[in-house]
Subunit: 409 residues, 2 copies
């Protein structure tokens, strides 16, 4: 008798964004003419930049010619031209030395942060921030690394590290021993960043406890403060204990193009149950070449163009446009008496819901009365209750409309 | 202390194709001027067809314009335009009714056939053919569904179903009860196909034993015999017990473009340990939207164009070119006294190694003396020992060269 993976039955409701989608569809059915401003799912709205478009047209043409046609990307780890551009621009330029065989190009940071847990033992204790990007938690639930869902929110067996206004949304080190720690800075959903000193403490904790940090830096391009690290590898010793995830999705508008990468340093060790250390890099390599078959050549050429002088200039303009949106949102909502966080080094604004409203209550309230879609903080975890995420990725004219509607609310 | 997933340590050597790659690189270092003909990894060589190229250029242009830009593909299951084209052309045209929400577009059949086991319980008994596409086995080893590697080949806990010349490379039904059965027809690596009667037996077995069949039909476009089913759903009742995998990789030369899909029927049930039936479709949907984020819009538009009248005609020409290669290989090698199988309804030729040579021995022999790369049958399983896979995906002129070299061998 074929059985299902019953761990899936522990999962609460749908994944956050499909649930939001369902509510929007239901609202639209009742209000077909409503002009909805979407500031929810965190998708980008600006088109790809000319340098990327040009590179992708060229790549398409290469695929039309028998002499330049490209089939499988050997081993599926990404073309060397792209891994070199990543190494030189994202790391060497910040004095971080990363080798080409430490870089694994993939189809998205969601896939990577979801899949990475597979290479680790099932008994590891997972630590996540609260609020948290749901993928980190749900993939561990599906893998059987947790107990049941708790009535109070979250799952048995996971260590939740509350991020609150009081700790500036950067959690304290866990008091218990944990093995696998998910950190995301600049943070989704709170927009918080971690300083060099704070990350140094985390690296110290991981070394002391033989833990591994999974560092999601998908939003590093939005950092404006020159003192904030873009990579965890800017911290001494981090290559011994951390895996880093990056993505072209938000950096260069690739949400519909699919290209990202992870860095798994060759120094990084994990352990067999008998305590013998093994290299983690070949584990990820083995998973990558067995369960994945590389990224579209066209997407990889597009990603490479992000690093060209023209490409860099162009994506910087797009990021500035989004960060102007963030400033508009922060300034307008602050003027209206809201308490807002984030939006300075991250494209997310973390808003305290007014009058003690619940997150989903505020979601419905905003959708029904202002036709604005945001993301309920509670969807990211218990500590997100009473908060609401707005993204800066909307069109500037829609941000203006949304802020007008907030004023009338 | 962070532990690794020790199941990975059970895996034997590297994944087949990286191992082949290593041997080629070693040979090239010693013989930098050797003119190697690659008939190994099964990658295509013909460029994308004009209809696909045109559609992808158009899609790139859409990504350059704020009005037509596409971000995330909602829920990541594939755009409706593509799922409709799949439903109508691959299924309705063959009198098979598949609903849109039974189709999940993905980045490759390797990913899908590798990931699918995650939604099933860890205690299911896996059955695979021998020889077999290594991904089916390795992903189950990594998940912990097997014991150790056996000295005689294969892994403890997996039921291997030998495919031999005697049974026409279509295995007999297993005598034991198995739960999850991987079948691939047209077969990689043997090039064998299953008749309607044979598949009907398999569907019957699955129903009787509450098993699920994972049917890999990645090579269906190469079927020339009108009586051979292209989809397992052409068999009555198959929608109750089978998941099917398709790919644009071999059909339309998309190995470097990345687009495929799986069909998970809503009728398909699996069971909780207490015997209660549950729908499998939402399990795959949940995995898909949690650990994956959709396929490049450009790739999806390219895939759609495969189904246009021009696209169909053009890919048919490419397939005919490859199948002419197959005929040349079969005819030449038969004339030289080799025993060959496949190559009629599949792009693979399954060759008996001469003089009782081992598969890897013949690999090295062919590489060193004729500078031809093929795939050792033993790399696909114990029953593949003494066989060798050649693909029809080479350039026609290289096939001619290779056949000349075989003659001189």
């Amino acid at each position: 008798m074929i059985t299902v993976n019953e761990n899936y039955l522990k999962l609460k409701a749908g994944y956050l964004f499909p649930e939001i989608g369902r509510r929007i569809r239901a609202f639209k059915e009742k209000n077909p003419n409503a002009d909805i401003v979407k500031m929810g799912i965190g998708d980008v709205t600006q088109p790809l930049t000319p340098a990327v478009i040009e590179a992708m047209h060229k790549a398409v043409d290469e695929m039309a010619n028998i002499k330049t046609f490209k089939g499988y990307d050997d081993d599926g780890v990404g073309y060397e031209f792209l891994r070199k551009a990543i190494r030189d621009n994202d790391f060497a330029a910040r004095d971080v030395q990363i080798d080409l065989d430490e870089i694994f190009v993939s189809d998205g940071a969601k896939s990577d942060t979801g899949n990475i847990q597979e290479i680790f033992g099932i008994d590891n204790i997972i630590a996540v921030t609260d609020p948290v990007y749901p993928v980190y938690v749900d993939t561990n639930v599906m893998a059987g690394r947790t107990g049941a869902a708790k009535d109070s929110g979250g799952y048995e067996g996971i260590v939740y590290m509350p991020c609150t206004a009081e700790n500036g949304f950067v959690p304290a080190l866990p008091k218990e021993k944990v093995d696998l720690i998910y950190l995301c800075f600049p943070n989704n959903p709170t927009g918080a960043v971690a300083t060099k000193e704070q990350l140094t403490e985390w690296v110290g904790y991981a070394k002391e406890n033989k833990a591994v940090i999974l560092f999601d830096a998908a939003y590093e391009a939005y950092i404006s403060d020159p003192d904030i690290p873009h990579s965890i590898y800017e911290i001494d010793g981090a290559k011994d204990i951390a895996i880093e995830f990056r993505s072209f999705s938000k950096t260069a508008g690739f949400t519909g193009i699919r290209c990202a990468y992870s860095v798994v340093p060759k120094n990084l060790k994990a352990y067999k149950k008998d305590g013998i250390a093994v290299d983690v890099n070949p584990f990820w390599g083995r998973r990558h070449c067995t369960k994945f078959n590389g990224v579209s050549y066209i997407s990889q050429r597009g990603a490479e163009a992000v690093y060209s002088p023209q490409g860099k200039k162009q994506i910087r303009q797009t990021i500035e446009l989004y960060m102007n949106n963030a400033k508009t949102i922060c300034d307008s909502l602050t003027a209206l008496g809201y308490t807002v966080y984030g939006g300075v080094n991250a494209p997310y604004i973390w808003l305290k819901t007014p009058d003690g409203m619940g997150s989903w209550e505020f979601f419905d309230h905003l959708l029904e009365n202002a036709n604005i879609v945001g993301t309920p903080g509670a969807g990211f975890g218990t500590a997100g209750e009473g908060f609401f995420r707005l993204t800066a990725f909307a069109l500037p004219e829609n941000v203006t409309v949304a802020m007008e509607r907030f004023k009338k609310l």
